[in-house]
Structures are given as C-alpha cells and as structure tokens.
Symmetry: C2
Subunit: 280 residues, 2 copies
C-alpha cells in the first residue's frame, strides 16, 4: 500500500487511527477463555467492531510470543483474518527487530513472506545492514524507531554529538540514505509531541507511526498540531484505551465506541488543520 | 546459572564456546527435510555432537520465526531437549528484543517462563524501562547490545557526546545502574576486538557475549587477548563455521570437529593468559 492509497483510506474513513492488538490473555474477558482460541476470538471481535474507524492494525509480537506456540497460531489467524476480510487495512508487525544482515533477512521472511504484514517496526541500534534487508521487499515498509514514547527514551535518544545533533535526529537523517518516503516510516512517540515539529523539518513527507496516546498520556491534539502534513502523514496508535475499554460481554461494542470517539476527534482535527482542511 | 557456575563449566570443558543455532531450513542437509521436524532433527544432531565442547547454545529467533508456527515448534523442542539432556548448558535466546515496559514484560514471559532460557539479548535504544522487566527474573540475565559485530555498528554506536563518550560506552555505563555483574552481560563483537580493552576498563568483571568470530571475520586470539578476565568472562559465539561445517550426511561429525578445534584453541588461550593461566 503506497502513501497515496494510505491517504485515500484516511480520507474515506476520516481517521488516522491504528489499533494496537496488544492482546494479553490475562486481560481479555474471561468468558473468552472457554473458546478454542481465546486470543484470536478476542481479536476477531475487536477487528469487526472497530475496522470502520481504523486505518491500520498493529499486533504487538510480544503478547503472542508470551503464549508460545498457541500465541503464534493466534497471530497467524489474526493476520489471515484481516487479509481476507479487510484488504484495505494497513498491517504493522510491532516487533522492533533488527540484527546483522543475514538475520534481519530471516526476520523479513518471517513478517513479509510467512506472515503478510505491510510493515514492521525496526530498532536502529545496529545500523544500515540491520534495516536494509526489510527494504528489499517491494511494497513493504520499515517503521524505524526514532523517538519512542517511553521514559527510557531519555536515556540515549537525546544524546547530542559535537554538532548538537541528537541521536534520534541522527537516526532519521542517516536512514534517509537507506530508503525513501514510500518504504520508510518512523516511530515518534505522542509523549514527545513538541519534538515532532523539529522532526517534520527533517522529514516533512514521511508517514509517522505515533504511539503513546491514551494509556501512556500523549495528546492527540498536540500530535496533530505538530505532525499533520498534506497527506495526513500520521498513523496514531491506541491500544489499551480501545481494546480494553470494557472487560465484560460488551467489550467489542465498547471498543467500537472508543474507536469511534477517537475517529470523531480525528476528523475534526483533519478539518481544522491548514495542511488537510481542503480534503475533509 | 551464576558467574561462578559458568566459570566452573568453562574450567571443566576448557572451553568458552557458544554455538549459535542459526538453523536455516534452506541450508541444512537436504535429506533431513524428509523427517517430521527437520529443524529440530538438525539441532538435536548438532547438539549431541558438540555439547562436550560447548558452554552455551544460542538459538537465533529470526531463523525459527521465518518458518512460522513450525519454526516456533522446532524452537520449543530444541529448548526442551537441551534442558532435559544438558542441564549444565547456558541457554541464550538471541532475540534482540526491547520495547516499552509492559511489552518487555511480555517478552520476558515468553523467553523466561514459556521457554526456559537463561538469558536473552536485548537492544538498548529504548532505555531503562525496556530492559528492567527482564531483570525482574531471579537467576536470569539480559545480554545487552553494546558494540555489535556488523558494519552498521559504525552508523550510531560510535557517536560521541561532548565529553567524548561514545554511545556504546554510554550504554554500558548507564546500564550499570540497572543490573549487576550476575544479571547483565554485554554483546561486544569480535570484529571490534581492540575496543574490548576500553570496555574492560568499564566492566572488568562482567561476562561478554562475543559474536563475529568465523564467518564474520573476527579473531579469537585478539578477543582473548583483550577480553579474558579472572573468571574467563567471555562466551565466544560461532554459528555458521560450526553448524554448517558440512552439508552432507557427516554434518554432525564435521560440526563436532569444528567445535573441538575451537575448544582446543580456547584451552590454549586460557592456559597462556595471565588472568586464567593458574586454572588451566
């Protein structure tokens, strides 16, 4: 899915929401544990309830791997279900992989061939050859960690070199030589909305994946203010605030309501932003 | 397994070899493809042939994930087989994970509870809260990426701040506040042997996991020269040079010969090093 198609979907739905499928077997409604595949059963209900408000889904690999073989099976079924029933959905593997070249190639095979994801989050620490193998796949994308939403982001990502360039800026600038606006995206945490303005100076046109709205405390309005560009350019992720909106039999309905609420907020932001107002 | 036990095993075997189980379905002997679980069949033969020369095994997760559900099953069987038959082996998940706290907790559950690994490799980019959840497990370890063996290591790991401290040094120094000599190890590539001397000044006593000997071109002698300490303090990994020593019916025997050769070199290095000579 290229940027233009992504943007068309955003226009159609009036939403730039990505729903994070952080499906924790210990947090899903307990009555689902009687089904043969509780994680998949949960995901299917959540997806069916929220898809019309959502541009992208982002299963978080850790949650599936924590259940071993069964978790991996739930993940495969979830990806297959999305591909079959919602072909317009952009599908991100939140895996934060990255290793020497020949190993990254194997991760690329895992997420782009074996599982039909559109994109995968990748950690930049190991540099170019840890990222390039993912970019070898036509039509697929790397979502590179730049500035993350967590407290630990301050440990290393803000380290500045002699010229004053911070590590997250260096990561973005350097990686511009590896890919392009179509096959690279960046993770920029909603909790660091003010840095978004600086980041937009380096990469005005790239799509950004923005986690940290909701449970982590980031503000959607701030993110829109500093991050929107003429193709929207944002996918804002929300996980817990949507998928765990209720723990009862109405969990899917409540998730839909929460997703709709976010979509309603997003369409307003798109209508009132100078970059995107003419399209909404 | 604590440092003392690790050291006892190193003394007993005269080896500080870690064998990397980078088991690629496309590279293993083709006759194994007729078995019900070729990746496990391969690993089992390799393990049985090399265990007496080996202190640790390090399955590389990418290779298993690239085969989806079946790959994950092969991994589980491999870990189980090692735990059942070789209780003295130190078992490292080469996974290079790292995410916000609640996600890292799920990865910790995946690799320390669901799979009984002793240690996991973790990427430092996201800082303290991405590492800490792994350290909450008594008796388990984080192997933090510091200075990796690949070309891309030069992209970011050598960036120096105003004080001249390089990113990999900053990562090591900062992480000393998160854990201790028993629950933290560091990845330091064999291809960067000279930096080992500087790293030993910061962490004289920690165990280091050293990849990059063999196919990647690092020198075992250089690594020993700069890296050995009074408890050995090194686990040197070799993957391809051992497990793919032959592609024929003699693959296990050739792997054993290659592992033995490395062990023989290691015992000489231990005997001739001022730190360890009295023990060998």
């Amino acid at each position: 899915m290229n940027n233009q198609q992504l943007f068309e979907n955003i226009r159609k739905k009036g939403s730039f929401l990505c729903v994070g499928l952080d499906t924790d077997i210990k947090k899903i409604p307990q009555f689902l544990l009687d089904t043969t595949d509780p994680m998949f059963a949960f995901n299917k209900e959540i997806i069916d309830a929220t898809a019309k408000y959502t541009i992208a889904y982002k299963p978080n690999l850790a949650f599936y791997e924590s259940e071993g073989l069964e978790g991996w099976r739930s993940l495969e079924k979830t990806v297959h279900y999305l591909r079959e029933n919602y072909p317009d959905i952009f599908l991100i593997a939140d895996a934060k992989r990255g290793d020497i070249g020949n190993t990254s190639s194997m991760y690329a095979r895992a997420f782009f061939e074996k599982l039909k994801f559109d994109a995968i989050t990748v950690a930049p620490y190991m540099g170019e050859d840890s990222v390039k193998p993912f970019l070898a796949y036509e039509g697929k994308r790397v979502v590179l960690l730049a500035l993350t939403s967590n407290k630990g982001a301050f440990d290393f990502q803000f380290i500045a070199d002699n010229s004053g360039e911070k590590l997250f800026e260096k990561v973005i600038r350097t990686s511009l030589n590896w890919g392009n606006e179509e096959n690279m995206m960046y993770v920029v945490g909603a909790t660091k909305a003010e840095e978004l303005a600086d980041i937009r100076k380096i990469i005005p046109n790239h799509f950004l994946l923005v986690p940290g709205v909701g449970a982590q405390g980031g503000s959607l309005q701030e993110v829109a203010k500093y991050g929107l560009n003429k193709q929207c350019g944002l996918l804002v992720n929300s996980s817990r605030a949507i998928i765990y909106a209720s723990n009862g039999p109405d969990f899917a309905q409540k998730a839909a309501e929460s997703a709709k609420e976010t979509r309603d907020e997003m369409i307003e932001l798109l209508r009132n932003n100078s970059h995107t107002t003419s399209f909404f």
